[in-house]
Subunit: 197 residues, 2 copies
DNA sequence: AGAAGCATGTAATGAGTTACATGATTTG
DNA sequence: CAAATCATGTAACTCATTACATGCTTCT
């Protein structure tokens, strides 16, 4: 049901076609919140319309249909937001990968973690630049809506990305402590991993 | 394919039955990394055995089968860990809910955020207590394995939970700025939201 | 002996992915 | 007019959830 509410949420922000909603998905929800492909979006929009939670308000060129949320849809979404389930579903391939690193030897694991930390840092830099450029409505949007879509997402990134970078660096430090200092040199992995940072 | 590798990862840590692996899932991966139900675990274990990536090493009472990872399985897992995809799948019903809060009015959204922050804080307290009690191998396990399973997961929680709590509090502050101080009183929502914290 | 929890599965349904298919519009 | 991109969809398949089913073992 989550996809359904993700779409209702996007439609609550503003009306749009399947194509536009798919792009919105990619830009905002996809990274941290929910992933969906275009054909799934189109199918769910049809169902939403069939159930009276959204309606086609405009038909444009080459079959383009613009959907808007209905009052019933708004109320349905509201109830979903106010009644969270006890055990929400979480699936994160990033995190899964990181949790399973113990299956690699320390040197390899260290490499994966370092690459991860660097990629998170790149994301953070890009987000920071975006926010400072004013293209995301961190300043602008909050003037008329403190809960604006991009605003919440950007704030989330600005809080979570440093934390996950720091975790990766902490994990690297754990490895280094063990392989360089802790129990003394025991394999060939001792040299080379140290002056890297 | 992620479930497959999640199971291979757990098996790389130690051999276990479907029942045990299901419980391990619930304890470690389920919260942040990947979610799966018992019947899915059993089915995937069968497939893993059929593909030669795991094997039944023991058959116990009431049909209990203990699986162990094979060399082929270990190598398959290793390749998966070393070759991350460009766009890993992320699905997080928590975060989705939080991103869509703009669809509620500020007062309601504030309530949801406050409840979320409190629940994250409870999780953090529980995790902190667990780590300090020494039941998770943050101290113990890292002596023989700095990448130990519970160790990485616990560290992740200790880094990410404060960040998501802080984000929720930041979002609450944004709402309060707007509804109490910012543009001055404009609707009936102005009073009552303030002395609540 | 009965209840609680251990342990494994099957069947039907729903959600999500991959591959394929089609045609309109805009840009060069 | 050709290429790129807009825009929507179908079909087949795999992954995941819900509900059902079964029997063993341990504890009281």
């Amino acid at each position: 049901m989550s996809l359904r509410y993700a779409l209702l949420g996007l439609l609550a922000d503003e009306a749009g076609s399947g194509y536009e909603l798919t792009k919105k998905f990619e830009q905002s929800l996809d990274r941290y919140a929910w992933h969906a492909k275009h054909n799934q979006v189109y199918q769910e929009l049809n169902r939403l319309a069939a159930d009276g939670l959204a309606e086609v308000v405009e038909e444009g060129a080459r079959g383009r249909k613009t959907y808007a949320i209905t009052e019933a849809g708004r109320e349905d979404l509201r109830q979903w937001l106010l009644n969270p389930p006890r055990t929400p579903v979480v699936r994160n391939e990033f995190v899964l990968r990181l949790f399973l690193l113990f299956a690699l030897d320390p040197k390899e694991a260290r490499g994966v973690l370092a690459e991860y930390a660097a990629s998170v840092q790149r994301d953070l830099d890009a987000l920071t630049a975006l926010v400072e450029s004013g293209d995301v409505d961190l300043k602008d949007g909050m003037l008329h809506d403190p809960l604006a879509f991009g605003h919440l997402a950007a704030g989330f990134g600005l809080h979570m990305l440093p934390a996950s970078r720091d975790w990766a660096q902490w994990a690297i430090a754990q490895i280094d402590e063990r392989t360089d200092a802790g129990e003394g040199p025991e394999s060939g992995a001792g040299a080379g991993g140290q002056g890297d940072e």
